[in-house]
Symmetry: C2
Subunit: 437 residues, 2 copies
Amino acid sequence: MAVPKLEDSLPQAGEGSQNNKAKTTTISQPTPYAPSDFLSRVDNFAIIESTLREGEQFANAFFSREKKIEIAKALDSFGVEYLELTSPAASRQSYEDCKAIADLGLKSKILTHVRCDMGDAKLAIETGVDGLDVVIGTSSILREFSHGKDMQYIMDKAKEVITYIKSQGVEVRFSSEDSFRSDLVDLLSLYKHVDALGVNRVGIADTVGCATPLQVAELVRTLRGVVSCDIEGHFHDDTGCAIGNAFSAVASGCTHIDTTVLGIGERNGIVPLGGFVARMYACNPEYIKGKYDLQALREVENLVADAVGISVPFNNYITGYCAFTHKAGIHAKAILNNPTTYEILKPEDFGMTRYVSIGHRLTGWNAVKNRVEQLNLNLNDDQVKEVTAKIKQLADIRPQTMEDVDRVLRDFHNEVHNITSSSSSTTSSESAKAQTA
Amino acid sequence: MAVPKLEDSLPQAGEGSQNNKAKTTTISQPTPYAPSDFLSRVDNFAIIESTLREGEQFANAFFSREKKIEIAKALDSFGVEYLELTSPAASRQSYEDCKAIADLGLKSKILTHVRCDMGDAKLAIETGVDGLDVVIGTSSILREFSHGKDMQYIMDKAKEVITYIKSQGVEVRFSSEDSFRSDLVDLLSLYKHVDALGVNRVGIADTVGCATPLQVAELVRTLRGVVSCDIEGHFHDDTGCAIGNAFSAVASGCTHIDTTVLGIGERNGIVPLGGFVARMYACNPEYIKGKYDLQALREVENLVADAVGISVPFNNYITGYCAFTHKAGIHAKAILNNPTTYEILKPEDFGMTRYVSIGHRLTGWNAVKNRVEQLNLNLNDDQVKEVTAKIKQLADIRPQTMEDVDRVLRDFHNEVHNITSSSSSTTSSESAKAQTA
């Protein structure tokens, strides 16, 4: 509840340059074609963490109250600005759980997600949450096949529900559903209408995962010119653009992004918390390190993965077991010279460690030399090249573990130093660094 | 080798409208703010499948020759236009494997990936591949910490190597490495230089995964104005934008995209084949269905997952076990009315099936009614609402399997029809569809 109201800090005319100045310290945008738009909220956004709402729509999810509280506390301590919970109208337990979490006194604001319906809104207010996320389908396809209402009905209903929620003194967001298949004029008219009613945020939702980053940028820019309130983005990942869309949205003026831990949600889910944090960190590490406890990310992910009975994907952002493993010879050489050559994220900022893999046919002599030094072996460059060729030969037969490699290095070292007249002839060592990016 | 040369079909002035016309049949772009640029190659692109090159840089990957051949054949039969293999200079086995695959006579063109080096290029030509993908680091950070060469050296080396490769009558691509942290003028000068030398493609590579979709669009548009050859994009996924970047690139004029099965590669990998196909299918299902054997996707993924000892991620695009599972009451209701309400991909096009989950607290009576009908039970709407409330109650205690739900429905049905005077009073059934998108 100590969260600064984002709409108070929207960039005013003339502030753009200051915004841009802040960005010159970032890692990922040193090129002349980096986005540097005065609409950008890359340095000033909030996360609405929806593991306890969207995440509950994941096929495997069944959270007991104790588990919900454990997850809520972990996310609060990670530092997310908001937690969104399942509608109290969904079931008796959902109602009670919502109440219990609203009562915890967390730093994160507590929201619940409700249909644009007075009954649902009243039930939600009873639970003591800090805000209501109201949603209604606006695409013609949802209007026809879901709720069957027309735009005038939606406008009138929105007015009734929003006016009521505001009278109760809590935050209110009004979102369309399936925004990217909605008629643009309908959509903008509705947003303008609810902005005038005084909502805190309007939400755009790519409910089916069809939007692309360029479409998102266009819609958010257009919307930014129509409403004065904050803008929230909700992006599904059916076609792999959830994080790209979220970033495009924020770069174009969107202030709040919905995430879930590991991206769990309906179908294959939404923007994952870790992946989104990785994306935003790449733009401005200091801002992200100041907002969130990045060292706690892995723990939060493991907690949720256990709760829903899944494994963290092998290629998970930041915490996947190979996210900081370097293999190709050229990569390994450069990483050992300077990690930022092939790393946009510093593993140590996330409590992770770098691993340079060398027991394979793509290895290079620079990486092997580094290991030789770690083992305190005494080999000159020609000798390292020779033993690298040997490792490649062995690795063509089967992959070599670090122990295998160490044994080869030690044996070679002993051989060299027992038979001091042994050859130091170069081998086909040039091939050692032949594997590239 | 029957692959049409893409550069021959680059849109000419005036062809833009025809391009746009084709797109009006797509599912995902019926909105007025859909990208409809004459540069777009969304309806005319090729995949360079790099599981046997980038994929070999994945921490777990160790492919025997037999496995490489099995993967190459599976990808060829899926229909990818190109296969990219590890440099023959990496190891003896890599050289022999490259030769063996080039000899298979596949429909996919065979490429190998080499450093900008005459030795590597000569070795690659010996293997009989259809083309060479030449790469060199151009960012100042790679120039300083990797190969240590300046731009003039790179230009000269490029000329020597490209001229040689062209003299051998095979395709040649010239790519920078770490393109998004390279100086724009250096980059454009180099591309212009190699375009004039007659390369088939220039490549841009987001080697560290730092690029964003808007940056990619800008760079590709700029580059499209500088070179006349094809453009290839290679995108790492460290910050979750690989697919979004690939799509932005294609929408802005990029003709070729690098993928790997499940996205395996250095660190957490690159654009996954399945996810990229999902993205492109969403724009133009007929084009994608005509190019690729979508029913074979799952098999190719399982083959590679087994080969590298990983599980397909729970949230994998298209083939993840919950990609077509619908849970929330409102979703389930609409999906049963019309699947395109909440599905941008048709599961049957990929040999997958839809699953509507109903044994949970977020269920709705419309979905339950559908199951009642599947089971040939005779219940009116009020009775379905009543049994839905019962399912929610039970699901608040523990998740209900389909068998559990069926038992509840059958018991309820028997009860209703044995005791014909039983109540048909409505319960709190309105809450049944309270859970939303």
